[in-house]
């Protein structure tokens, strides 16, 4: 069977291409000698003679190879280089135009000659070559425009161009098979090339193309066509194959790679000098939850000029290992390298800033974040600056940032809650009431700020008030600049002092706390400070202070009850104390407090579950997503996971780039009617559309 016939069978198998059956009787096939026939076929050698006369060795060889493929019994003439006196003078000129690829000029010249000399026919070989040349050009254009059915149709219409000399065309046909859903035909075509075409560079390039387009057994079948000489022909490609496998697995956590593959690529990465392998390994580790290892690979990639992707990965991985502060300079430095880098920086800072109690940050770290938030119009960033200002007692600044966040993301409940909370503290009842009205029926905790009944309802389910950090004192709170757009009357950048005064009007400005309004103890404050109160009084005072959202003082009160009380009183106090710690976001302390006194089994379970929920939330806000998931896993053994916690779990997976798991949960949440789930699914789609390498 001639190789041309093999090729035709590959093409004809493309059932998607219409009217292919008729193409079997192609002109070149008609011209071919029947297999086994001894007669010498009549072969048009004018092209050969032209290329020979031109001294164009490359084209001459290609033409000889082409004619041999078409006419297996044909031998090139011996007298190729002798002059041919009989020539029509137009013929060499037409071939010259052909050699220059001036197909339109040839067509025009032929038409002109035929108009002046009816019945004149150009050489059949020229016409065939011209058809093939045009078809090849058209096929390339169709392929560039991703018109894959068109590519296959053109190839089927002009199979004569599908020869080793047109390697690019062959590769494009193979890609068209893959793009139209018939990779096995691409495999057949690659095998045809490796069976028929001898050029070593093109063979290796063909194997590389196969690597890009095929996988699994199809790819193995192609690579098995390596020349069986001493050194395996495609040995160098093994590394590419390895990179591709791990690279795909780094994108898609449902794919598995053998530990041997990972070890081999790690070896390559360490021995190499470029960033690519380290980068792939970084993403692979990161998306499989091994952030610590990912940090090392991303660091290596970054050191080797791995660019924006390396920086992004490094930042995410550092944050995931609880080293957010360490990541900040890198995140800031790379913030303008791309949308992902900007997001990584903003998310990192948001995680840092929204932590309660606020971490100690360099002033410059906070100061340089605000302009980025402004420019990106990031509600996440604005909200985080709001919480940071709030947590450090800069209540008016907090109000400005929350207001900005609400402007940028009106549907974000957390920003609205933040604004409501500071409005309450600033006695801005107009704003508070407006927010409460617009969130009526949608946010219980916003309602609780204006409705005592709702507050009681919520308190009975404590500690559901998760992200409600109370302002606490910090020795040297970092002043936060205000958003420029949202502030009507610009205040000095260091608006900290007036803020603190305003914010602390009902808070512990110094060690001496003097509760205003409803006193929380029948005993005097002095007696309380002296510790001369009964455990029952301490317990009552603790609950009262907690109700007033003054958890630090509540802890002191509960402490008295734990220390001096017994039985139910001590249990309750320990419980209250751990709630107060949770209110402060201090989950470790909360856990310690909870075990100070044995709790009744039911409450112990509730408390543990609540603690773990708090810990998960805190970890999540800290961008420690692995820990968030671990806490949720632990909690799920004690109590069913509510939708808001499922959402946190899903977002944690999202941040860890485990989009499959995130999507599964978001989908379940969406089906259950959880309003935020759609945003998660959208976010996954937005990210997964971007191919990262």
């Amino acid at each position: 069977m001639s190789s041309l016939r093999v090729l035709l069978l590959i093409l004809v198998g493309a059932a998607a291409v219409p009217a292919i059956g008729q193409q079997l009787a192609s002109p070149s096939e008609n011209g071919a000698a029947p297999a086994g026939a001894a007669t010498t076929p009549k072969v048009d050698e004018s092209a050969l003679r032209f290329f020979a006369a031109q001294g164009d060795k490359q084209r001459l060889d290609a033409e000889i190879a082409r004619l041999r493929a078409l006419y297996p019994n044909w031998q090139p003439p011996k007298d190729l280089f002798s002059p041919t006196p009989d020539q029509d003078p137009d013929i060499p000129r037409l071939w010259a135009l052909f050699a220059e690829g001036k197909f339109s000029d040839i067509r025009a010249a032929i038409a002109q000659r035929q108009a002046s000399e009816p019945g004149w026919q150009p050489p059949a070989d020229l016409m065939e070559r011209l058809d093939e040349g045009e078809a090849a050009r058209r096929l390339v254009n169709a392929s560039e425009a991703k018109q894959w059915a068109s590519v296959l149709r053109i190839a089927t219409d002009t199979p004569g161009m599908l020869v080793c000399a047109n390697m690019d065309v062959l590769w494009r046909v193979a890609e068209a098979f893959v793009r139209t859903g018939t990779p096995q035909r691409a495999k057949d075509l690659f095998i045809y090339i490796l069976t028929s075409c001898p050029n070593p560079q093109e063979r290796v390039a063909t194997a590389q193309k196969a690597l890009q387009l095929l996988d699994g057994p199809d790819l193995d079948a192609v690579l098995a066509r390596a020349n069986p000489d001493n050194t395996p022909e495609f040995a160098g490609l093994r590394e590419d194959l390895l990179r591709m496998r791990v690279g795909r697995a780094a994108q898609d956590t449902t794919l598995s790679v053998s530990p041997g593959d990972i070890a081999a690529l790690e070896q390559l990465a360490r021995n190499g000098s470029v960033a690519d392998d380290a980068l792939v390994l970084g993403w692979y580790a990161f998306r499989r939850g091994d952030a610590a290892r990912a940090v090392d690979w991303f660091k290596l990639a970054l050191d080797r000029q791995g660019g924006a992707s390396a920086a992004e990965g490094y930042v995410l991985a550092l944050a995931a290992t609880g080293r957010a502060q360490e990541a900040e300079p890198i995140a800031y430095q790379w913030r303008d390298a791309g949308a992902s880098n900007r997001k990584a920086y903003i998310d990192l800072m948001a995680g840092l800033l929204a932590t309660a109690p606020p971490p100690r940050l360099e002033q410059s770290v906070v100061a340089r974040f605000a302009p980025v938030v402004q420019e990106a119009k990031s509600a996440t960033g604005a909200q985080a600056l709001g919480w940071y200002a709030y947590n450090t007692g800069q209540i008016r600044t907090a109000a400005s940032w929350f207001r900005t966040a609400v402007q940028w993301a009106p549907a974000d409940e957390v920003s609205a809650y933040g604004l409501a909370l500071v409005s309450q503290r600033l006695k801005d009842t107009a704003t508070l009431d407006a927010i409460a009205a617009s969130w009526a029926g949608k946010s219980e905790r916003i309602l609780a700020l204006v409705s005592p009944a709702a507050r009681r309802r919520l308190a009975s389910r404590a500690p559901a008030i998760a992200s409600q950090p109370a302002p606490i004192s910090q020795p040297t709170p970092m002043p936060v600049s205000r958003p420029t757009a949202a502030t009507a009357a610009p205040l000095p950048l260091n608006g900290a002092l007036p803020d603190r005064l305003a914010g602390y009007e009902d808070g512990p400005a110094s060690g001496a706390s003097a509760p205003r309004g409803a006193p929380c103890s029948s005993a005097g404050d002095a007696a309380f400070r002296a510790g001369r109160v009964s455990p029952e009084e301490g317990l009552a005072r603790g609950w009262c202070l907690l109700e007033l959202n003054r958890p630090l003082e509540a802890i002191n009160a509960f402490d008295i009850a734990v220390r001096d009380g017994a039985g139910r009183t001590a249990e309750d106090a320990a419980y209250g104390k751990s709630l107060a710690y949770m209110r402060l976001g201090l989950t470790n302390e909360a856990q310690v407090a909870a075990i100070e006194t044995p709790q009744p089994p039911a409450r112990a379970v509730t408390l543990s579950a609540d603690l773990l929920a708090q810990r998960a939330i805190a970890a999540y806000r800290d961008a420690r997503y692995v820990e968030a998931i671990l806490a949720l896993d632990e909690r799920s053994r004690l109590a069913p996971e509510q939708q808001d916690l499922m959402s946190i779990r899903a977002w944690s997976y999202y941040h860890l780039r485990d989009f499959v798991s995130a999507r599964r949960i978001f989908t379940a949440l969406r089906d259950a009617g959880y309003p935020e789930a759609g945003a998660g699914i959208d976010a996954i789609l937005a990210v997964t559309r971007q191919v990262r390498s």
Partner: protein, 363 residues
Amino acid sequence: MARLMARLGRGAGVAAAMLVAAACLVAPGAFAKEPAGMISRDDWAAYSARFVDPSGRVIDDANGRISHSEGQGYGMLLAYLAGDKAGFERIWTFTRTELLIRDDGLAAWRWDPEADPHVTDINAASDGDILIAYALALAGEAWSVPDYVSSATRIARALGQQVVRREAGRLVLLPGVTGFSVGERPDGPVLNLSYWIFEAFPVLARLAPEVDWAGLAASGRELLSLARLGPAKLPPDWISAPAGRPLAPADGFEPVFGYNSLRIVLYLLRAGIPDSDVQKAILNNWMVQNGGMPAIVNIPTGKALARLSEPGYRMLAATLACAIDGTAIPADLRRLQPSQYYPSTLYLLSLSLVSEKYPTCLR
């Protein structure tokens, strides 16, 4: 949505560099003697020297020297009318290899010499495909080239499958394959009534009889009558034709009777329709309102935004006047004065019509 063929660039003057005349291998004098020759050899040589490059690319010199399916179709039609088989082959070769690459068998509409790949919008523009198929059919029949006829047939069938569609209760010609239908635009379908090249429909009907070309022609006539909008009662370039609502200028397009619509007159006349109500409205606007010159007219106000004094545009008005009351073509419009691709094209199509159907206007 692909914004096909926004012709507003066409007013701007971009001097076209003279192109190298097509390489001639054989001594000239080989022009066909077939009856199609309604365009003189000199006029066509001047046109093709200026707007057709050796690769067969018809250059729209007022639109960044891009090429498009419409220009290629015009070029092929003009070459046919000039009896230039070689020129026809040249333009067709470019059209086939560079534009006729879509999966559905229609041509990609936009080709940019500065871009790589050159095709910068794979969408089709249906008037370009109609012109290409029409020119192929005419040339294939007159010159007995079966390949032309079979190529024309494939395009005509693809047009029937892709863009001749029943939308909002009418049989319409969608301007492109994507972006204009009821399903794709709130004000859809959005149509361009200057894409109805009426003279081509009977020819395409012979090639693809399964498509209701006669119905398409009838709906085009009806739409043209309904599209007389605004104080000047002129059809906008881009029109929205939703079900059960009156026609209106399409959203996102300038509401003008502009460079697109002004060729409607020519297409109707070339199809043997001299007296439709839309032609009367256009004639009134050009002759009475704008001193014998075609004008770009704002539809809502009816005011002229620009008068087009280029010979190619004035020839449209002269041809209309000739067809309606036998007015002689002014002396300065009897030869092509190649200025820019678009008005020069309209000029040659007008002149070929007058010389064929109204020769007395040239005496």
